[in-house]
Symmetry: C3
Subunit: 500 residues, 3 copies
């Protein structure tokens, strides 16, 4: 990897020509000197980053022009830009040099003060509405909601903790930071901190760089070195930040595909997913605003939950929102029972009557005060239905949601049956639960209980919500809900016999 | 959602201009007055429907022109069109106003008699051959074949029925209509009926609309309000009805992806699926007829089972058929054992010697009279091989089917081993089977037996039929067949000990 | 299928015109007389093969021109071509008539000596480097490494062997050749031999053709009738042999998708897969060399493991290699523990201290001499990191691999816990292991042990290596590792009680 100094000079010279050619053809808007300096080395060191950015809107329009776009076409939501926003496109320096004093990961780099981790606060310079809205999401709080909930932390430990078997005894340790980061926190987000600096040899000489813990990560609730929460790149992938990517369902599949949250799988087999997969090549994923029936003929995840959608005649069907909860009345996954959405995105404040950090009792009743009201649920449902109605008749839409509500109730009932069996097992001493100061997640029968709600009831509800056919039957759906109850019951019968 | 009357007038005016612009450019064929009236409101109310339809062939050619297309290019199969088929494209009114007296879902709507559910009888005005052929399919009978088979109804109940646990007893109820519709019937089809009418407020004033039970649904064997069976939109998705969608495998994946019928997953990892997924962008999915080697270089589901395929020199490789059974000698999924295809698409007439509504005995022997003859099997296999031979040599094709037949036999043997264990368990009183008037599907050991044939043997056979590699081994294939037998056997051993 | 002689003559005539038209337009390079003769019949018999080939590079450039391409653009790696390579494109005859005396599948066919199975030796005429490199792969030895390893053969038997249940006894047979070919060997490769010849009726008269055993097959380690190992068409799909297909991940998914090697699933939900799936339509998959950041903005399987990648300024980021092991330090799947890569691609030479044909002891320690050194591991990791660094910073890349190494260690620990439970069960007589001359794979508890490493630890490691989120948690990841240990432990507890 070492190159001679002469070679370096030649490389620099040829790169400069290359940059001039490839970056400045015609009316290409100007690049700041700082960004130009970044590119001079990084075009060689990380050509993929530079190439990706060159394809972005960030590299082809200045913020001051972008903010002047008309109404619905405008992607810069900030009402005004900082005074020092000059007539340059948004390049490396414009993001990685913002607010250097607030960023604990700022380091001195060839005369510049650079930070590695670009955060929502950095993005909010131009995209303030989106960042503000996003903060209202459960997702923005995904780190704390997991780590700060004693019950869910014990679930994490039961999954990630190293286990050992010695002297006929099974031992389980608390999980380690590296494992959590590679596991749950890869989606929930890590806490990113500077743990040390390291000096390394590079082709441009010695460099001293910060070493970050919890890095790499682009989880949705990442705790950043500037104190903010979230990672815009979770969906708006670096360094092209293409709206096309964010609008396509593959993006959401990164975190929403497993048995615990099978949204992507369900979508794929739904009519919507079927149309998307066969027609996407003929759709326009770049137009802003996005016209239903012309730019696309079936919704992607973004179309229902996030995007600004208009009709052919320019009427706004649904506003752009980065508070995805706005159209969701019921929270259908991740918890023991489906329930009304929490009022606050910080769910660590929730406690049920039994003192557990859960939005329902173990027997399913909602803990009212922490959850949204019936009126708010109606409002959110109405908001979602607006999207549905752009392609479906009233009768279709109402029928769909009536059926969905019925499924939410029956799936909760199936969870209740499984829970009652588990409670019986605890009471009879066939397993050890919270009443005996033990985790409710670490024994075989408890793991079956987890799967009842975290896998099977979730899958059944998602299938109902989005038309996912077999995800409500044999693909982790109702077949597994009933099978699991049967097996839990037979386990208890057998255990009772063998205990005698 | 309320708009002032003046706004409405303005909206109407602008919509009219818009429709003129977007629908009538150049030699755009004429739209009937009735359809024009539909669009005037629905372009605003359901822009996605109108936009989708505008991209369809239905909106760009009149039936009277379409019927005159030459030989293999013709998509209108009816020999002649009804006298009242005027020189208009097929729009809203042309389908939703057909046969109003036969449609029990017909309602009075702003001076028109409209029905919601467009049925095979409606489509058959132009596409009579396809509708007739489709009626010969098991799929057309998918509702009755499930609901009218006492054994399969008890399977449905064991999956969908609500369960409860009280006083150490497990109870299971019969399944409810809403649950069935959200579960098995989402693919099999519901029975759609008018249950009441409802009057709602709309932006165009008060409207009285029918409320349908079993709606929405586009299952393949739907029982329609005009008495017909089936739903063409199961594959020919509304309202573009694009042949491109029907030819792509995503369409079939809606119902053929779960562990019970893993056709899509198998296809995806097969050579065919691999070529499709890497080359589809360069193929032509719209040409009629479809030329092997030019329009596409590997088959999709439709290519083998449905489509009219020709060679470069215009020779017909395989005729279009909507009787998919025509090329299928053996029925490899859904039943306990693979067996010769049933003669009649209505399988409720089948009874085996033991009196069970099954095409084989519980020990695998075929119940001859209800199933096709050896000669018919040979004919169907020869028909399928024609498609294979367009890209494979004779030796390849024969070798493939010899191996497939061997797999069908060995998978049946593995099911037999599991069945014999279960029968032993019933005989020994370790479980309760039909001999004690109990469902064969509701106990833990019985559920393992279900999985033996419904999941693992099926997956193994599909993998063999379509080259699905791991679907025949670790992805629900042979590994699970042998593991399941081992576990069933050990379960019985353990139970026998604990009963002592 | 019979046609009259006159029809045949007409068909021949029209085909000849068709071939002239479709194959010889403009400066189309010449087709050899032998290939022309093949096409004359096979265009009608197997139009898909001919059509596919017409789209290939093979049909559009002669080897003698292709070998003269400049440096990185050259795909013909052989330094020189055989003297008899004339100025014809690579058609049917150029491959299927090579080395007729070495090919045991050569047969007399209308005056030509043809072989069915084209092998690496045939391809190496032009692509000698690739064939030589490929021979260094574990994949080239995939047949022998499975069939010649007594332990793995017993695993195969336990999966594929037919089972029966009679007189309350479970019996398991050795697996059959047809089943193996349809199962494990569909990826590993079969041994292809001529078993007999068969004379059949065709539309061109009677033909005598060889019947091959183990055919069809395109497994990566296929034993060919000319004695070579491997099948280039496993990735370079017939008969287009498109580099586009080989570069796309669907190709690898054929064998690398199941729970035993979930690479494709992991890739799909990774950031790389997400970008690929949303952007592939805008990428260039045909350019040689392949420019990171311009032709593609996220890697596919090939980009990291095989392809020649350059940067915008023409610098080589990574050399093309068909020895995929070159960038892989640790072998993370298929064996009980992750371990340093074997030195030799023929792993049948490996024995651990306990005498088992495994690269580690049952308790995880590496059997040093057969595996690569630490220095070699460092070199391979550095080679891989070069690819990563084209789009990621040093800190990102180092952080990623530190975390991956931590996961490799913890997943091995979780396998150790499961193994110790199994060893205890063997010692206590609750199951029969190798110490009692029994297979370690054929009892229920042993099958749980298999899944611990073959499914769950593998999935966790792949998720870590490639950023696969839930594949390291709920999609066969850590949740299942810990659940499985818990269940194995409870199984032993229960068994001990019932044995008393």
């Amino acid at each position: 990897m070492h190159r001679s100094p002469i070679l370096k000079v030649l490389l620099f010279a040829s790169l400069t020509v290359l940059i001039s050619n490839s970056l400045s053809h015609g009316d290409q808007p100007p690049i700041s000197d700082d960004t130009q300096a970044c590119i001079e080395c990084h075009l060689s060191v990380n050509p993929g980053i530079v190439g990706d950015w060159q394809k972005s809107s960030h590299s082809s329009i200045t913020p001051s022009k972008a903010i002047k776009k008309d109404g619905l076409e405008r992607l810069v939501s900030s009402r005004e830009l900082p005074e020092d926003t000059e007539e340059y496109v948004v390049g490396c320096a414009e993001c990685h040099m913002l607010n250097p004093d607030v960023h604990k990961d700022t380091f001195e780099h060839n005369g510049y003060r650079i930070h590695t981790v670009v955060t929502p606060a950095d993005c909010s310079v131009c995209h303030s509405d989106e960042v503000r809205q996003y903060g209202d999401n459960l997702m923005a709080h995904a780190y704390g909601n997991l780590q700060g909930n004693s019950l869910y932390r014990s679930l994490v430990d039961s999954i990630n903790g190293r286990m050992s078997f010695e002297d006929m005894k099974l031992r389980s340790m608390k999980s380690e930071a590296d494992t959590d980061a590679d596991s749950c926190l890869s989606c929930h987000g890590t806490e990113v901190k500077v743990k040390e600096t390291r000096t390394i040899e590079t082709e441009y000489g010695e460099m001293t760089l910060p070493v970050l813990s919890g890095w790499p990560n682009d989880g949705v609730g990442r705790i950043n070195p500037d104190g903010t929460m979230g990672s815009c790149t979770a969906c708006h992938t670096r360094h092209q930040f293409s709206i096309e990517t964010a609008r396509k369902p593959a993006t959401c599949s990164s975190c929403h595909k497993g048995p615990d949250v099978p949204a992507y799988g369900v979508y794929s087999v739904s009519k919507h997913g079927n149309i998307y997969r066969s027609m996407e090549g003929e759709w326009n994923f770049k137009n802003v605003p996005w016209t239903a029936g012309r730019d696309f003929t079936a919704p992607t995840c973004a179309a229902c939950h996030v995007s600004l959608i208009v009709s052919e005649d320019g009427r706004v069907i649904s506003e752009r929102t980065h508070s995805m909860g706005n159209r969701l009345a019921i929270r259908i996954f991740g918890l023991v029972y489906a329930h009304s959405h929490p009022r606050s995105p910080d769910t660590t404040i929730i406690k049920n009557k039994a003192g557990l950090p859960l939005p329902t009792e173990l027997t399913g009743e909602e803990t009212g005060n922490f959850l949204i009201s019936g009126a708010e649920k109606d409002k959110r449902l109405a908001e979602m239905k607006k999207v549905c109605l752009s392609c479906h008749s009233r009768g279709w839409v109402d029928g769909h949601f009536d059926r969905f509500n019925s499924t939410v109730r029956s799936a909760n009932d199936m969870t209740l049956a499984a829970t009652k069996i588990l409670i019986s097992a605890w009471e009879k001493g066939l397993a050890k639960g919270p009443d005996r100061n033990d985790s409710p997640f670490n024994e075989a029968i408890e793991k079956k209980w987890i799967e009842q709600w975290l896998f099977y009831a979730n899958s059944t509800r998602f299938a109902s919500a989005m038309g996912g056919a077999d995800y409500g039957v044999f693909s982790n759906g109702r077949y597994y809900m009933s099978k699991n109850i049967t097996e839990m019951f037979e386990w208890m019968e057998l255990r009772q016999k063998s205990e005698k």
